[in-house]
Every structure is written in structure tokens, then in C-alpha cells.
């Protein structure tokens, strides 16, 4: 392997750069002829948080083809296979096209008026009898900015409840809390340019080759051009990412919490830190410990200012003494020697160090703490806020950033990092919304796990789900599906295809998707991207914004949405934009986004974008001579948190001896409702499998493709074994994916969550494994 890679790199020294777009084998005249009559538009990809730009070819009112957008700085003409399938995802045979109302076990076609009148009457009844907190709206990181903003204004400024949540609670909530309690502001300080400019990339539990393929390609390209570039893959499982990495470091599940503490211990012990940087920029803090795991309904655990104790640097160092490399090895599975090495890598003044992570760190019962510790590595060594050197929190969805985080569509949030519990924030929000400040509740609403549990307890009467599939994707799924089946709440689902959630709905509404409506997304690197409507939505399907506004009118809140239909998308964006002006998250005027392949906020006074935040070199909020300034943090000092090791919610034991990990793979997106309807993607990966280590399989008498029964304390399932495939778990671990609607693997998952972020841990629980 080593030899092959070296040879290849030598051979590729003169190879064309990534920036060169893949040229077609057809001659230009042939292409022109083939594509005559096609009109082209641009849009960000409908899938992941990378935010590639796509050229959409429309002919005869239909999307006939898509191509990678060569003018995009994100992907430079490349997509992944999901992006290349975009012209097919909206044309599945069973696309929803009419509203449907449940009558017993049947779903009966209805008109929009009938459906919306019914929904409004149910919501009004619940509110009249039980108050506004008896209803909820559950949206998505795949909502456009306009959809999220409308939802927030309606629920918080109209109906008067904070029961607004999104599926981003299940992916990015830990990252958000980590940003907020470290920097005082959400979202990265760096950008994708760091992938081209750095020389050391350390991945923590992130299978980038399959989950962020185009970004991974960008990293590989950097490696090819600069042979000193190193890619270190720290993971619980060998993947396609591992194949391209220079080093693979296997780790026990949950081991990141120990390994990071041990690495920091070494940095402190050997004085590898940047004292000047620490003195200038860093405050040390200790938070609330002995945290629960969210396993009990209505459990409350928050880290308030009263719970936080400031530490001196000396006190912090004393507390960190316990996390020796030897201790780290025992708990994390990473050798003490390797921990020492990593401390040296992280503090290497001759190299530009980047950390990258997503769900391995975020979907973690101590995910916020792990986010904190990753930032500590960069803050203690001063390796941050420099081109080519930053920690980068990767995101899962196309607009978890742009919509859910920036617009603030959560039970505790308002736009632009503001929170419902802060009176000044409520006042500012109310002023822009044109509502009485007393309307916006100060009380935090139900977070996602609690929202669905509240249905089971009969406390939540109505829930409207848009653009997501919780009755396939939530952990400890059986409890929640049973509650829905028992009709404990009135459930509305807006989607584009029948799903495991629509099958439990009282009302199904057909939605317009992607370029069937105008919209804006925001990706991982703060890039806001806009697109125009390019084709009509099929049948009677309508965009979610329209659905919400029609509902709002029936609820007596129509005046909150006075936008003429023709200019609605721009008007909503411009109103939302007001929140951002002067905040350090400034957005550009709507028209600007139509002209370019997106812009990274904060937008400067001259309309140009910011690549690196908090640095005088690029961020307008930092004056000349100030160098680096964390101007969103109180006193301009960021927090390095002391976070102890606390174990996972459930670990393997005698009865359930294996670790159970869940995730995604390249070809299918989330619950597979879109990708599952593309023939090429279905053919490539037709169903979920369970990956086993070959030695474990041998001991259990399991061969490749044999049916295997996997059982947890919550559920049981049979999956075909996959041994020697694209991924190999470490011994004692099994891995599967959640895209297959015929295999509800989330029945097995434990509904433990990080008590600070409320994000569930989909990566760790205990199972037994037997040949079926």
C-alpha cells in the first residue's frame, strides 16, 4: 500500500490540478448539439453540507440533466454521485401530488382548503384547551432560509410557543453549543480554503470520503500537489477515508473524550502551548459535571452562568494532571506513545494543523465536551484563525447552517445567535417582526427528543413535520412510532414522497422541492447560496413557505406575512437580513446572491465576503493592529473548558457484548427517501447491511451475506452481513446505516443524548450479534 501510494504520487507530480474540470470525451460541437434547447440555472446541491454548486438543465419544463458547476469555488465542477443524480431525485413514480386526509386506515384525497382548514381547526382546538405549548412544528436543515424564517416568525411571534425544532438537533446541536460556549458565536472561523492551504489534517470520527466526498477530493488534491501533506484518520472503523489517509489510529467508541484530554495533558506537561496566545485570548472555565444521559422523560440539565467556575491557568493545569497518556490509552484505546505523538503534531510550529469532525463527535452523549476539547487543542497552541490552519466543524445538511442555526429555528433560539431567554433579544426580534415583545415566550420550548416523547405522554396534541422523516430517524424508535400509531397526537407531514412518517400522519401535504421553488441555503463554510425556481412542482404540490402562510392566515396571523407572492422570497430574506446587519454575521442584499456562486458572511461594507473570521487580515470587525480578536466572546476571551471523562450511556457487557454504531454511506442520503428512488443508486446499494470484523464473524460462524440478528435492549433486527466491504469495524464493533426504510435500525438505538445540546448519541449502544 505504502509503495503504491508513493509511486502514484511521484507519477502524478505533473498531473492536472483538481481545478481542471473533467473534460467530456465528446467534442464541443457534439455537446452543443446534444444540449440544444436546454436552459441552464445554478443551484446548490440538494444534499449535504458541503454545498457544491450544480448547473441545472431544464427542457420542456423538466430537469433533464445536471452538471457540476465549474464556476463554484466549492467544488470546481465536481459533484459526488448523489449530486450527479439530482436530475432524477424529484421524478420518482410515487411523488406526492395531492393533499391526503386520514379516514380510518385510508388516506383520502382532499383539496388544499380542506386540509388546511382541518389542520387549523385541530391546532386552534388544542391551543384553546391546552395552551400554545400543546402544539409544535418540526422542520429541517433541508428547509430553505425562507421556510425556516416563516416557521420561526409564525410559531414564536404568532402562535406564541417555542415548540419549534428541527432535525438539525440530531446532527449539529453539539457543534452549535460548542461554538457558543467557546467563541460566543456560532459557525466556523475558517473556510474550505483551509483544505487547500494546510498541510496536516486530523479527522476525528469522520468518514469524509463518503460523507463529504467533494471536500475529501479537495484534500486528496492538496496531498497530490504537496507530498508533505498528512492525513490522519482517527476512527472506530476502517473506511474509504482510511485508504487515502497516511495514518489510521483506531479508537474505542467514546474514546475521543479521553484521548483529547490526554493529548492536552501532554501539551501542558511539556509546555508545548503558546503562552502569549493564551494570555491574550483564553479564559479557563469549569462547568457542570456528573451529567445525566437524557434517558428519563423531562430530565432537565443546563449549564447556567451560575454553574460555571472560572479557573486560573495554574488551576486548569492542576486539574488536567490526572489525564496521563497511560490513562488515555486504557480508556481510549489509543496507545500512550501515539497520544504523545499527537500532542507533538498539534503543537508543531512548522506545520499548519487542521481538525475535522462531524457526527462521530456531535452524535455523542458528551458531544459538546468533545467539541470544546477539540477547540482547546487549537487554542492552547494558538493554531487557529490562520489561512490553512483551523478547526473545522463539518455539517451534515445543505442548510443546517443557513436555515436552522442562522435563523435560529430551535426551542431556545431566535435569529442570529439570539436566545428566547434574553429579554433584549426578544425585544429586538419583536421589533423586526412587528409584534408585541411579550408575544415571544421567554420559556424554552420542547427540544426534539422531548417533543416526540411528549406525544407519547399525551401532552403534545398537534405536530407538523416538514421536510424530514423522524419516524425513521429518531432513536428508540419503537416507543415513538407506537405513540403515533395510537393516534395520541394530530400529525401533519409535508413531504415529497411517501415515507415512514407520512404513513403515520393524519394529514399528508405534497411539497415542492429544490428548484421547484425559489430559495436560499447556507453551507458549512458560511456560504449563502441562492437559486431561482426552474420548474413547476408536480400536481398540486406547494412549497412549505406557502403552506405555513396559508395556515397562518387561518390562525389569524396572516398579517405577519404581508409579502406579495411575486417578491415573497426576496422580501422574506431582506426582512431576515435585518437581524444580521452589524452582528458579525452580516448577509448581503438578496440580489447579490443571484449573481454569484454564493458569498461567505460576514459581508463587508464593500459587499465582498469574509473567508477568515476574527482576524485583522480578513474580518472587518477587527481593526488594524489587533491581530486576532474574538470579538463575539465576552471580554474578547474565548473559553478553554475543563471537561472530565464520563462514560457512555450504555456500554457492552456480558449479555450485549458488541458496540453498535450507525451512520451513512456515499450513495444514500439520510433515510433514503430521495436517493432510494434513483435506479442507479438503488442498484449500487440496495439495502442496509451489518459490517463485522472478519475475526468476530469467524467466531460467530457468520459468512459474508449471511443473515445476522442484532439485538439491543430496545429492539432487534436481521441484516445481511457485510465482511470485507468498503468498511471494517474494529473487533467488538458492528456498523450499519439508516437509509433503508425496510430496516428500521433506529429501533435498536438508545435515546441517550448530550444534556447540554440534547443531541442523541447514534454511535454507541450495546448489542448481541448472532447468526440468524
Amino acid at each position: 500500500m505504502e509503495l503504491t501510494r508513493r509511486d502514484f504520487i511521484k507519477a502524478s507530480a505533473a498531473a492536472a490540478a483538481f481545478a481542471a474540470v473533467g473534460v467530456s470525451v465528446l467534442r464541443p460541437e457534439e455537446i452543443e448539439a446534444a444540449e440544444a434547447g436546454i436552459t441552464w440555472g445554478k443551484a446548490p446541491c440538494r444534499f449535504c453540507g458541503v454545498g457544491c454548486s450544480v448547473l441545472v438543465g431544464v427542457k420542456g419544463g423538466k430537469i433533464v440533466t445536471t452538471k457540476g458547476d465549474p464556476a463554484s469555488p466549492v467544488n470546481k465542477g465536481l459533484n459526488c454521485i448523489k449530486g450527479y443524480s439530482l436530475s432524477k431525485v424529484l421524478y420518482g413514480k410515487d411523488r406526492l401530488t395531492t393533499p391526503l386526509i386520514r379516514k380510518g386506515n385510508e388516506m383520502v384525497e382532499a383539496s388544499w382548503d380542506e386540509a388546511l382548514d382541518l389542520i387549523a381547526s385541530k391546532y386552534q382546538k388544542a391551543i384553546a384547551e391546552h395552551g400554545p405549548d400543546s402544539v409544535a412544528l418540526y422542520g429541517s436543515g433541508q428547509w430553505t432560509v425562507q421556510e425556516g424564517y416563516t416557521a420561526s416568525k409564525l410559531m414564536k411571534g404568532g402562535i406564541g410557543t417555542n415548540n419549534l425544532e428541527v432535525n438539525a438537533r440530531l446532527c449539529m446541536a453539539s457543534a452549535v453549543a460548542g461554538f457558543m460556549n467557546t467563541f460566543g458565536s456560532d459557525e466556523p472561523m475558517g473556510c474550505y480554503d483551509d483544505l487547500d492551504l494546510g498541510d496536516t489534517y486530523i479527522l476525528w470520527g469522520a468518514n469524509m470520503a463518503e460523507a463529504h466526498p467533494v471536500l475529501f477530493s479537495r484534500l486528496i488534491d492538496n496531498k497530490l500537489k504537496h507530498p508533505t501533506v498528512r492525513l490522519i484518520d482517527i476512527a472506530t472503523r476502517r473506511t474509504r477515508t482510511t485508504k487515502m489517509a497516511d495514518e489510521y489510529i483506531p479508537m474505542y467508541p467514546h474514546g475521543d473524550l479521553a484521548a483529547l484530554n490526554a493529548i492536552i495533558h501532554v501539551i501542558l506537561r511539556d509546555k508545548l502551548y503558546d503562552e502569549a496566545f493564551i494570555t491574550r485570548h483564553v479564559s479557563f472555565k469549569r462547568g457542570k459535571e456528573n451529567a445525566p444521559y437524557g434517558l428519563k422523560d423531562k430530565e432537565v440539565f443546563n449549564e447556567t452562568p451560575a454553574d460555571v467556575k472560572p479557573l486560573t491557568f495554574a488551576e486548569y493545569q492542576a486539574l488536567m494532571q490526572q489525564f496521563t497518556p497511560q490513562w488515555g490509552e486504557k480508556v481510549s484505546g489509543i496507545a500512550a506513545q501515539k497520544i504523545e505523538e499527537l500532542a507533538r503534531v498539534y503543537s508543531d510550529k512548522t506545520r499548519k494543523i487542521n481538525s475535522l469532525w462531524t457526527m462521530g463527535v456531535n452524535q455523542h452523549s458528551r458531544g459538546v465536551w468533545v467539541n470544546n476539547l477539540l477547540y482547546s487543542l487549537h487554542l492552547l497552541t494558538g493554531k487557529i484563525c490562520r489561512p490553512g490552519e483551523n478547526p473545522l466543524s463539518l455539517t451534515g445538511q445543505p442548510s443546517a447552517c443557513g436555515t436552522t442555526r442562522e435563523v435560529g429555528t430551535f426551542a431556545h433560539r431566535l435569529p442570529c445567535d439570539m436566545v428566547v431567554t434574553n429579554e433584549a433579544h426578544r425585544k429586538k426580534t419583536a421589533a423586526i417582526w412587528g409584534v408585541d415583545p411579550g408575544k415571544i415566550p421567554a420559556k424554552v420550548g420542547l427540544h426534539t427528543m422531548e417533543m416526540f416523547r411528549a406525544i407519547d405522554r399525551g401532552e403534545l396534541k398537534c405536530i407538523w413535520i416538514q421536510c424530514t422523516n423522524p419516524f425513521q430517524s429518531l432513536p428508540n424508535l419503537t416507543r415513538l412510532r407506537k405513540a403515533a400509531e395510537a393516534r395520541k397526537a394530530f400529525i401533519v407531514v409535508s413531504d415529497i414522497y411517501p415515507t415512514k412518517s407520512t404513513e403515520l400522519a393524519d394529514v399528508i401535504l405534497p411539497s415542492a422541492s429544490w428548484v421547484e421553488k425559489e430559495g436560499v441555503f447556507g453551507n458549512t463554510e458560511r456560504r449563502t447560496q441562492q437559486w431561482f425556481k426552474m420548474v413547476e412542482a408536480p400536481g398540486q404540490s406547494r412549497e412549505d413557505t406557502w403552506q405555513l402562510i396559508e395556515f397562518a392566515k387561518r390562525m389569524g396571523h396572516g398579517k405577519l406575512f404581508p409579502y406579495p407572492e411575486k417578491t415573497m422570497h426576496r422580501d422574506i430574506f431582506e426582512e431576515y437580513r435585518k437581524f444580521t446587519i452589524g452582528s458579525g454575521k452580516d448577509l448581503a442584499p438578496y440580489e447579490a446572491y443571484a449573481k454569484v456562486r454564493g458569498l461567505r458572511w460576514p459581508i463587508k461594507a464593500d459587499g465582498t465576503e469574509t473567508r477568515w473570521r476574527y482576524t485583522e487580515a480578513d474580518d472587518e470587525h477587527v481593526q488594524k493592529g489587533e491581530g486576532i480578536k474574538f470579538y463575539k466572546a465576552p471580554g474578547n476571551k474565548v473559553n478553554v473548558w475543563f471537561r472530565p471523562y464520563e462514560p457512555p450511556a450504555e456500554s457492552p457487557d456480558q449479555e450485549y457484548p458488541f458496540w453498535f454504531c450507525t451512520g451513512r454511506l456515499l450513495e444514500h442520503w439520510h433515510t433514503g427517501t430521495m436517493t432510494g428512488r434513483v435506479p442507479e443508486l438503488r442498484r449500487a446499494v440496495s439495502g442496509a447491511t451489518i459490517e463485522l470484523h472478519p475475526e468476530d464473524a469467524k467466531l460467530l460462524g457468520i459468512g459474508n451475506r449471511d443473515p445476522v440478528r442484532i439485538t439491543s435492549r430496545r429492539g432487534s433486527i436481521v441484516l445481511p452481513a457485510e465482511i470485507g466491504g468498503r468498511g471494517t469495524p474494529e473487533k467488538g464493533n458492528v456498523f450499519t446505516t439508516f437509509f433503508d426504510e425496510t430496516k428500521l435500525i433506529n429501533d435498536l438505538c438508545i435515546d441517550a443524548f448530550d444534556p447540554l445540546s440534547k443531541e442523541p448519541d447514534f454511535k454507541k449502544c450495546a448489542v448481541k450479534v448472532q447468526k440468524a
Binding site: R5, V21, G22, K67, P70, G77, M244, K595
Partner: protein, 104 residues
């Protein structure tokens, strides 16, 4: 007669034009993306032969870099993350890939 026909034609053209530009209060720039489209690609071919599911990059290039063993030569050998675009399709031929082929 001719001028009426010309007027009708002009009117039709105007109506058609007004249909294809998005109706918008302040007219947005309609970017001409045809040139960008010409210099880009879509539809990466699926893999018609069995591949070891763990193989990638250099294994694929063993045949596809130069087009040996009847493999179509690639115009982008420097892109090593092959399987991010090229996925397993219907098996049509035996592949002499590095590593054992997977039989369906």
C-alpha cells in the same frame, strides 16, 4: 400583409421572452450559464464490472490510467476518490481489477 405577420411575430417573440424571464419586481440578472455547462460534465458512468468494494484510486488506475485490458482510459487519473462518482452498476463484464471481484 407582411407587416401584420411581422408584428404578430414580434408580439409572439415578446410574449415568449416575457415568459422565460422570471417575473420579478426588480429584474434579476439572468446569468448565461451555457458556456459553463459546455465545459462541465454530468452522468459519470457506472462500473459495469465487478469491483472489490474496498478498492479505489490506484487500483482503478491500474487499468484506467492508460486504458489497458480494454478499460476506457480516464481523463482524470489524478482524481483518486473514484467511487465518490462511479458506483457499481449492472454487471456486464468481468473486470481484472486488483483484488477479487464481487459476484452478484
Amino acid at each position: 400583409m407582411e407587416s401584420i405577420a411581422q408584428n404578430v411575430l414580434a408580439l409572439t417573440a415578446a410574449v415568449l421572452l416575457s415568459c422565460i424571464t422570471p417575473a420579478y419586481a426588480s429584474e434579476p440578472p439572468v446569468l448565461d450559464l451555457t458556456k459553463d455547462a459546455l465545459r462541465s460534465t454530468g452522468d459519470p458512468p457506472v462500473i459495469p464490472h465487478a469491483v472489490n468494494p474496498a478498492q479505489d484510486g490506484e487500483e482503478c488506475n491500474a487499468c484506467h490510467r492508460t486504458g489497458s485490458h480494454n478499460a476506457p482510459p480516464t481523463d482524470h487519473p489524478e482524481r483518486l476518490n473514484c467511487t465518490s462518482c462511479h458506483v457499481q452498476g449492472e454487471l456486464k463484464k468481468e473486470g481484472k481489477a486488483a483484488g477479487k471481484g464481487k459476484q452478484e
